[in-house]
Every structure is written in C-alpha cells, then in structure tokens.
Symmetry: C2
Subunit: 163 residues, 2 copies
DNA sequence: CCTTGACTATCCACAGTGGACAGTGTACTT
DNA sequence: AAGTACACTGTCCACTGTGGATAGTCAAGG
C-alpha cells in the first residue's frame, strides 16, 4: 500500500483498492476490508496522513515522509519467503482417484483458461512496450507470460500420460 | 485433508500435519492450528471418525464413507480460481525506487535461491521416476521444475535491463 | 532414577477473505 | 423539477489462514 501511494499519490480508500486491482492484481490481492483496516494502522503509525473529510465522508490519504522511508525500507529488504499456492496442482496430485474422461475434461478446461490468460499477457506486454511504460511493470507482465507458457508446456506433457 | 486421509489412512493430527508438509508442502500450506480446527469440523460433519484416545491424548482419524464421497466431490469439482501470489513480483514492480547496485544484489540472491530450488526439483523428479511413483505426484514435481526454469529465464532477461 | 528431547495437542492474537449493508452523490428520465 | 437508478465510499461481520507460545506425555540414554 505504501508503494502504491508513492506511485499514485493522495487517494481515498476505495481508490486505493481499485488501483491495487489494476496495478498489482495479477499477482497480489488486497481486499477492501484490508485496505481500510491497514489505512487506519498506517495512520496510527504515522506512515500516511489523512486529509479532511470529502464527499461521502471519504478521506484522501497521502504518504508522509516517514511512510516513504518505511516503503524504501520494505523495498530494500527484498521479498519474504515464497510459497506457490496453486490449486490446480492439488487437484492433479490427487487425480488418480478421478475417472480418465473426467480428468481429460478438467485438463481441457485448464488448457483453454490458461491459453486465454497467456494471450492476455502477450497483448498487455506488447501494449506496455509500445507505450514505453516502466520497465519493471513490463517485467511483471513478462513473468505472467512466461508462467503461462510454462503451464501450457506442462499441460501438454500431462495430457500424454492420461490414457 | 480428506485427500491426504484417503491416501495415508488413519492418522492423528500431528501426523496429518507432517504428511501435508511432505506430500503437498511444495505448493500448499496447512498449519497445525488449521489441521486441528478442521479435524473437529470434519468430525462434526461426519467426514472423519476419531478412534479412542491413544498416547499423549492423541486420536487417530479415519475417513468415513461420507468423507470419501466428499473428497471425490471436491476432486470432481476441479480447482477454484487461481491467484498467483509472488512476493518477488511485488518487489520488482516497485524496483524503480531502488539503487541499481542494490537491485543487482537482490537479483543475484533470487537467482541463487531459485537455482537451488530448480536443482532440488530436478533431483526429486529423477528419484520419483526411478521409483515409479504415482504419475500425478511426478507431474506436480515436474511443474515445480518448469516453474523454476521459467523464473530462471525471467531473471536472466531482467538482468539485462538493469544498468 | 533423572534428564533430555521428541511427540502431540491446545490456545491465542493477528492477518486475510468475501460478502452484506448503508449512506451519499450523480446522471438520466420524465 | 422531481424522481429513480446506479455508482461511489465506507463499515462491519463471520469465517479462514498464519505463526508462535505453552504444556503435558512418552521414550531413550546416562
């Protein structure tokens, strides 16, 4: 949230939540409940500052100097430990209990969903490159493309072991 | 948990928790707190049956018929919506705020950690193939290998855009 | 017999999720 | 000009997930 605030500037809770969906929603989730709760936390800790009440009792939050420092500290610390959480792998792990025809259906379904996603990332990457966007934003999208390509390869190999 | 119980049979909470680490820990987490709470839920719903008190007031849980049915239902429904959650992408997304030399350090660090993981998956896959394990278990490990290979490719490309 | 450490369960505080609910502007229709 | 529908904004709640602290119990070894 501090990183988002540093990029998009003063914004209310709802706007921050939508921005998160757009900007990092491909690989991170931030629910609205979370945003409002954490804004209160960040305010209490002096990392953000709330402006006066606006329409619909909204308040615009902006990053304080201390908040910017905290953001850079977070950035510098690097990512925490990673756990892939991939529900598809769970289903596959236990797939020996599934009739082969049902499994083929599931695989077909995976395949089409992930093909769509791959095309989406390819298009998005091309657009961002055209628009000369932030190279690091492009990099995250490229990761999406590579990830989906890996999934495609995997599904292909997997289809071969299903009778 | 039902899937695990169906594969490993009657077991106490602690054992179920350790088995989860071993069997699906590469792409799923199941904390001990969760295991005990959910065992109570599953028992209440009639999906598992608890044996008499054993040593250290442990109880062995086994899958009931109804639990097995619930497991197959879950399996048949296929995986729920997927969200990749990849902390490294968050750091990279905001990396324009980082001094290039610090970024290079981070990338080096990613690279070595993921190379280690890739080697781990390669070895594990070879071992499982040798042991003629369940093809679906092998498939999940192969996914790990492909994923790590994609990460390696990505980090390689990324290193080129850092000054 | 005592100590140590592993095994097993419980509990707690906090974070994350998803949906319901409610008040308030805005834009469109009549 | 009034009314209506819808989008914007915030709050709340119940449930699930996370990580660590605590504590009783058994087994092995000195």
């Amino acid at each position: 949230m501090l990183g988002l605030l540093s990029q998009i500037g003063p914004i209310n809770g709802n706007g921050l939540s939508s921005s998160a969906d757009v900007l990092i929603g491909d690989y991170w989730t931030l629910t609205r409940s979370q945003v409002y709760r954490e804004l209160q936390n960040l305010e209490r800790r002096g990392f953000v500052h709330a402006g006066p009440l606006g329409p619909r009792s909204s308040r615009e939050f902006s990053l304080t100097e201390s908040g910017r420092a905290a953001f850079h500290e977070w950035l510098d610390a690097g990512p925490a430990g990673e756990v892939i959480r991939f529900p598809m792998l769970l289903t596959i792990r236990f797939a020996s209990g599934l009739p082969p025809e049902r499994l083929r259906d599931l695989l077909d379904d995976f395949e089409s969903r992930h093909r769509a996603k791959r095309e989406f990332y390819e298009q998005l990457e091309a657009d961002l490159v055209d628009a000369q966007s932030d190279p690091f934003e492009i990099a995250t999208v490229r990761f999406g493309r590579l990830f989906e390509a890996a999934v495609a390869t995997w599904l292909d190999e997997l289809a071969n072991i299903v009778p």
